[in-house]
């Protein structure tokens, strides 16, 4: 299963943990860029830049 992907910001290699799921946020270890996992499974792995923290986030 594909578990590494290139950071769209800095080109570093991001490792996607095996137990992560679609919708989870992962962070680039080099530049700190945050990505949401949009596809995962078999040979598919796709990320998109995560939403920025909004003023109405959280509890």
């Amino acid at each position: 299963m594909k578990s590494k992907i290139e950071c769209q910001e800095c080109g570093a290699e991001i490792s996607v943990p095996e137990d992560s799921v679609v919708g989870e946020i992962i962070t680039c270890p080099d530049c700190g860029g945050e990505y949401e996992i949009v596809k995962k499974g078999d040979d598919k792995l796709d990320l998109k830049p995560a939403e920025r923290v909004g003023e109405d986030w959280g509890q």
Binding site: V22, E36, G54, E55, D56, W57, G58, Q59
Partner: protein
Amino acid sequence: MVEVSIVCDKVRFEEKALYEKTLSKGIKANIVDAKTITIGTNSKMKDFLLLGDVILQRSVSYYRGLYLTACLEFVGFKVINKFKVGETCGNKLVTSIKLAENKIPTPKTQFAFSAESGLESMKKTGFPVVLKPIVGSWGRGIYPLRDLETASMIVEMREEDDSALSRIYYIQEMVDRPPRDIRCIIIGDQAITAIYRYSSQSEWRTNVARGGKVELAPITKEMEDLALKAAKTVGGGILGVDMMEDKSHGLVVHEVNNTVEFRGAASVSKADIPSEMIDYAVKVARK
């Protein structure tokens, strides 16, 4: 067979724990991205097969979760928590009014609707006071104001803000309390667990998102009664009731959280919080 969906805009510890717990109970579960749902006035339940029989609304964005819940309820889904509950809990002013109406001990709070009347209210209350935004979480925009000079500067900053809600001033007495508050998690009519939340070093707020540390708190009879009453007051469901230990007046409820985060509580509690939440969701689905 009941099917549970977890609607969220970001999968965090909580959403994963709920999903895995649902599956471990042999119940079908789906995590559904709130950002991908569109609903119209002509929508029908059958258009949303993945949403199952009961929805746990877990969006981290308050307004997204709130208005999506309104739409889902319109279509006919059972959503935890209900729109009305989210509407109350997400607004500190409305929550304070409801708590006071129902004689639930809560910190003395003044509401003012202009910079001038806000400053007047602070002077009348007497410094220090706490200024809070009426909508907002993770302790953002909450300021302890210890004198008029600082208060005037903060009010000036609020006036420069474009947000209409910044013109509404929520001014609370500074409660004399230990450096911690209490979060009691209510599920249905039960207090499941309670934690103390301690502020981190050089931080006054106790939010876990601000680095606050947690410790298991014993659920006293007073705490349980108060938390259950507060939960009922806002409409019930799965809620996090935040309380402070006022040195002069005992426990006071200052907030009720609608999409309760429980990572901190789960790290110290003996209760299986996601399991209790799923059992409650199944009960709601079967009603």
